[in-house]
Symmetry: C2
Subunit: 217 residues, 2 copies
DNA sequence: ATAAATTATTAGGCATGCCTAATTTTATAT
DNA sequence: ATATAAAATTAGGCATGCCTAATAATTTAT
């Protein structure tokens, strides 16, 4: 079994890999984990010894198959717990991440699968990120951004990409939450902003940034 | 916030206190936590410094109000998670304890209360132990043992006190699970055994030990 | 190409929380 | 009361995982 810290490193390396960084360096990892590069070098050595990563000063860190498997399991648990916290316990978007960071390290062979079943095998977490399946497969098709919906089209809010307090307060003010039906009335070419209708309510204008921050399904 | 280890010590001291041991000694704690008395002495010093316990060689360890509060919170979380694992995720009695030992250390202000609400404010965990309420109050009325039901009486299985594989396999063989209705036909004075009817099925004879291992509500 | 800046690494340290072995204290038995 | 056993404590050590400061290697800019 791996320690919390090891799992956090694997997850960080995994995420950096997804971001397509050519080289995953100690500095980049330290930044993501909010710790010191010197500490990272120590840990990379340890993860190398355990064959969870390969590390080379030139090439940076790379997850081995074993390391990738572990990282995906952690990500799977993280996202499943996020769904649980939001849907079952009623937490807000902004609160679930920190708790899921703790829950993702709970060790039990069947836990992820049982949780997955209990939650109805969700495909995406509340931030719109795909939940790895039990076999390790991950959907590559992200949900589409509100911005990509054609004028005249209608959709439902599925997730948010931005979890800042400002954005969430704004959403609340507008009466927008998960499941809210949105109709795209018009796209303004000038600044990329959108005119949308919230439910059966008012037509409002929202910025391009807003349109990029909401995922719909 | 306290470390996992600190919380485990507080919980151990709390449990030893409930068992009514006159003196809670390093040796007793070491035994409960399956570690070394020397390690315990170290930790008792640390917990004393943090005003979570008082420790005196003569009087042993005692939780302060602050320590008691923390211990009860941990116990509350432990038992709520046990209910969750059994009722929602479908784990068996024997599996939930180890996972709850991990989950009890998840830190979040609202978590216990939200979980409590989600589970419908259960009063007892699947082992029949009372779940401390949000205000720290703990029911003193334990569920009654099957053995205490009068002949002619009927009841439903609420929890089990024994979680050995042998017992649980026996229960399964008999078709007894949580919620199973049991009718007490007769008590045998000779050996304290019971004749019971399982559901609408057969009348069977079970030992005194069996009657003590099942709690009914 | 060389200086300056950035990044990686090493060395030494520290807190946590455990260990073993040795010692002191306390309790028990004769 | 004294020997013996048991419990508590101290001392020293170890692994984990973090830190700072110093140094080495690499990049970037001029």
């Amino acid at each position: 079994m791996h320690t919390f810290s090891e799992e956090n490193y694997l997850r960080a390396i995994y995420r950096l890999g997804l971001e397509g960084s050519a080289k995953i360096s100690p500095t980049a990892i330290a930044e993501m984990l909010d710790n010191n590069p010197a500490s990272v070098v120590d840990m990379l050595k340890k993860l190398s010894d355990k064959k969870l990563i390969s590390y080379d000063k030139k090439k940076g860190a790379k997850l081995t198959d074993k390391g990738t498997k572990t990282a995906i399991e952690v990500v799977r648990k993280h996202r499943l717990w996020e769904v649980f916290l939001l849907e079952k316990l009623g937490y807000g978007w902004e609160e679930i991440h920190d708790i899921a960071e703790q829950l993702e390290h709970i060790h039990n062979k069947e836990l992820a699968d049982r949780l997955d079943k209990f939650l109805g095998y969700p495909d995406y977490d509340p931030h719109g990120d795909p939940i790895p399946k039990a076999n390790g497969k991950i959907a590559t098709t992200y949900k589409t951004m509100l911005l990509e919906v054609e004028p005249g089209g209608s959709c439902q809010v599925a997730a948010v990409k931005d979890t800042s307090v400002e954005f969430l307060q704004y959403l609340e003010k507008l009466g927008v939450g998960i499941g809210t039906r949105l109709k795209i009335i018009e796209k303004i070419a000038f600044d990329g902003s959108l005119t949308i209708q919230v439910g059966k309510g008012d037509k409002i204008n929202v910025s391009k940034k807003f349109g990029e921050s909401i995922l719909v399904g």
